[in-house]
């Protein structure tokens, strides 16, 4: 069964450093998303991406965040200058003509 792949599974970084989280969506899907889940809290929408541009973003997705689909297969989330409160599980999701499929997530720890 096709799946969404995320790397790395764990990322530890120092506050102020840049991180890039990577995702390989399902190959024939057209819509891509990033969500995050702070420990013990709900899964929150960050951004949706279609046709090489952002479709919608939440209030969380400020200027420190950016997304890119550099090569037609990878979908990345960049956090320019990480803060302690960015520590969370980040999930990538993709969607074709059916339902949203999620990856296993990247656990980001900002120290």
């Amino acid at each position: 069964e096709p799946e969404v792949t995320q790397t790395p599974s764990h990322q530890v970084t120092q506050m102020g450093q840049e991180v890039i989280l990577r995702c390989v969506p399902i190959s024939n899907h057209l819509y891509f998303y990033w969500y995050r889940q702070i420990l013990g809290q709900k899964v929150e929408f960050l951004v949706s991406f279609y046709n090489n541009e952002i479709s919608e973003k939440s209030e969380i997705f400020d200027d420190q965040f950016s997304v890119e689909r550099p090569d037609g297969s990878n979908f990345t989330l960049k956090i320019r200058s990480t803060k302690l409160e960015d520590s969370a599980m980040y999930f990538c999701a993709s969607r074709g003509d059916s339902f949203w499929v999620f990856g296993s997530g990247t656990q980001l720890s900002v120290l």
Partner: protein, 112 residues
């Protein structure tokens, strides 16, 4: 008003019991209602979806939507320890690049 509201639990029931998980939603514009299951430190996994009011059954699981009262339910029959997880209700519109919106999730433990 939150778009999807869900009792966070936690909920503990003995093995074999029937489990009832519930959500309410506020916006009638959405067409799909889904239940995702999330094991600890893993991504949400689609369990069931419904498109319209009524029941949908899949093995031990039944999803129910009452659009008149904006109420979504998931029933688990003959619950097993492997059903222990967090259950997330979600709503989304099946057009274009609409996002999925989750409830807070209900943490369920099935006691052997």
């Amino acid at each position: 008003q939150k778009e999807v509201e869900q009792d966070p639990g936690p909920l503990s029931v003995p093995e074999g019991a029937i489990v009832s998980l519930n959500c309410t939603y506020s916006n009638s514009a959405f067409q799909y209602f889904m239940w995702y299951r999330q094991y600890s430190r893993k991504g949400p996994e689609l369990l069931m979806y419904t498109y319209s009011s009524g029941n949908k059954e899949d093995g031990r699981f039944t999803a129910q939507v009452d659009k008149s009262s904006k109420y979504i339910s998931l029933f688990i029959r003959d619950s097993q320890p492997s059903d222990s997880a967090t259950y997330l209700c979600a709503r989304g519109a099946n057009f274009g690049n609409e996002k999925l919106t989750f409830g807070t999730g209900t943490r369920l433990t099935i006691i052997p």
